[in-house]
Amino acid sequence: MVNGILAQSAVPSVVRADWLVLLFPAAGAIILMFYGQGIKRAAGAIATLLMTASFVVAAITFFQVVARPAGSRVFVHTIYKFFNAGSLSVKVDYRIDPLSITMMLIVTGVGTLIHLYSIGYMRGDAREGRYFSYLNLFAFSMLLLVMANNFVIMFVGWELVGLCSYLLIGFWFDREQAAVAAKKAFITNRVGDFSFLIGLFLIFNHFGTLDFGRVFSSAPTAISAGTATAIGLLLFGGAAGKSAQIPLYVWLPDAMAGPTPVSALIHAATMVTAGVYMVARTHVIYDLGHTAAVVVACIGAATMLMAGLIAIAQDDFKRVLAYSTISQLGYMFIGVGSGAYVAGMFHLVTHAFFKALLFLCAGSVLHALADRADITKMGGLWRKLPWTTFVFVLGWLAIIAFPGTSGFFSKDQVLEGAYGAGHTSLWAIGVIGAAITGFYMTRLLVLAFFGKSRDTEGLHPHESPVSMIFPMVLLGIAAIIGGFLINGNGENGRLARFLEPSIGPPAGAAVAAPGSSLTPETGVLPHRNGGLSSAALSGIATGAGVGGAVVALVMYGGLWDWQRRRENPGLAWRALRNKFFVDDVYQFLFTSVGKLVASAMAFVIDVKIIDGVVNNFGTVTTKIAATGRRLQTGLVRSYALGILGGSVLLLAFFIARAVR
């Protein structure tokens, strides 16, 4: 069934089971789609088992690849030929290389834990079977996206991910909020996908192929910097949709209308990481089109800052986390946009750990409080939910980049990458963002879990079952020690060395654009041209993060009466509270104006002009016929006279012509 194709080295017989990674979740999705409703409770177990199997295969593949020398860790397997159209030939093939394996491990690993958690969370839901079917489909789509070896298959995965997000965000479609959020997510993503698609057309136009290997190897000679910039920007348009960056981030905060484990899946393992992965995968394009890379980094920084600020003023537990995801994605884009691809990917990995953890905690809290998510009405939950509080603290430490936690290492490396690439201002924004992150996360922690219990009468919070606590504890451990284990040493870290065959520089290519301080020699992390030392950078960023946390601790820890202050909010608070009015502006610009244009189309263009033309054809024809049908007398002799008259005329005509 699977033919190994020679890629960069002979395919060993060992890396042969890797297609099972895709098969397991796909099989789960299909089986549960048809039989899930019948077997109810078993659906969750089946889905989780299949995801676990998928994770095990991914892990085996990982170890097999690691066992090989660094130069021969890229494999391409062709399953079959998809289609031929003119000069375009598309194969269904997939790529096993360090970058895709990293993503596979995250998707299947974190995905498995979320599946496990979902068993407890979704117990008793009327459509449990369908839920797990969608969940498996989501994992499959994301795996297809990251394992693709050409842009077409990647786009298929890309679209499937969008579809799954629609299905899952709108899982409780009988709630209007969920149905609307699902539509918003889907439509916003479509805007990005359109840009992505145009990018693919441009690539095909210039390269004549959409195969990763051929595009990336010929890119340095085949296209100019301008073309690379155009392609890079168009592809990033797609990434902005999937990974929730300005201007297309608006769908993500609303996406929490779905079940909470789905939010964890979207925010951590699948979906939003797609954009970052895509930029890292197509890094050759961004190395050539330096302007595009700078735009990516700048938009990342702007998004990071804006989402962080908005998060400060939100009261919904999950909404705070949603904006923090957008903000952290901004960090990742600062990383990949600055050429620090490893740092960006590293932050993606650590973020997957702690953000999945935080969202699962949110699920546990909502579970305990009967879906009431307003943190101003929580407080003192640690007494009732000791385990949830404990693991939430672990996730909190990681996201504020407390020294030693996973977030500390990855955020440091992202900021160091930005600084090293010469983007000092982006670095500064990143540091401010770190302080803001510390502030809003601490606010969330203190308001929800500590202090006095506010307004929880009538509710009896209870700790979640073991099947929900267990994955949270595992993720908590990963959030704390994962960063150190994976890439504690910066540019010589394990991840950096592992990823080098995938996102190291293409050999011999003039990677660095003029004016860029990217260094092709290492390609992994640029060397700094003087300036602050690594330790100083780390100290400043960590100080900012912890400082923000301390300020929030003081403000919301009891010294400041935030409840009274809220009765008379300032202008800044109101702006933050209303998310800088972006949703309202979009509502006006696209929805209201769109409706206006649509009604103009419907009632003027369509009814008056198009229908008018069609109707007039009918009326005029009827009128002509009403007159013309009077010729039809039914009298045979009048017809005969007509024939005679016609014959005479014809005869006269021919005679006249003959005479002349």
Partner: protein
């Protein structure tokens, strides 16, 4: 020998009588006979020209016309009889089924 123009003139007269018969009479049988008259006028013309030119084409064509006319008489008379049975009339003005 009578000149060909006399034959042609006779044919023209016969044809005109036929035309007038078709246009002016109402009885289907008379109209039918007038049509036969026109056909035979045409036959006369064909044969006249055939003799003038010394070829056989016109004569062959005339035979065809006679054969077809014979067949047509059968069909036509059948229709007229059927019509008469329904309407008790052979007037074409009574058969105005296709009037608008």
């Amino acid at each position: 020998m009578i000149s060909p123009s006399a034959y042609l003139a006779l044919a023209a007269i016969l044809f005109s009588i036929g035309v007038l018969g078709v246009l002016l009479r109402r009885n289907a049988l008379v109209i039918f006979m007038s049509i036969e008259l026109m056909l035979n006028a045409v036959n006369l013309t064909l044969i006249t020209f055939a003799r003038m030119r010394g070829t056989l084409d016109g004569q062959v064509l005339a035979f065809f016309v006679i054969a077809v006319a014979a067949a047509e008489v059968v069909v036509g008379l059948a229709i007229i009889v059927a019509m008469f049975r329904r309407k008790q009339s052979a007037s074409v003005d009574d058969a105005r089924l296709f009037k608008w």
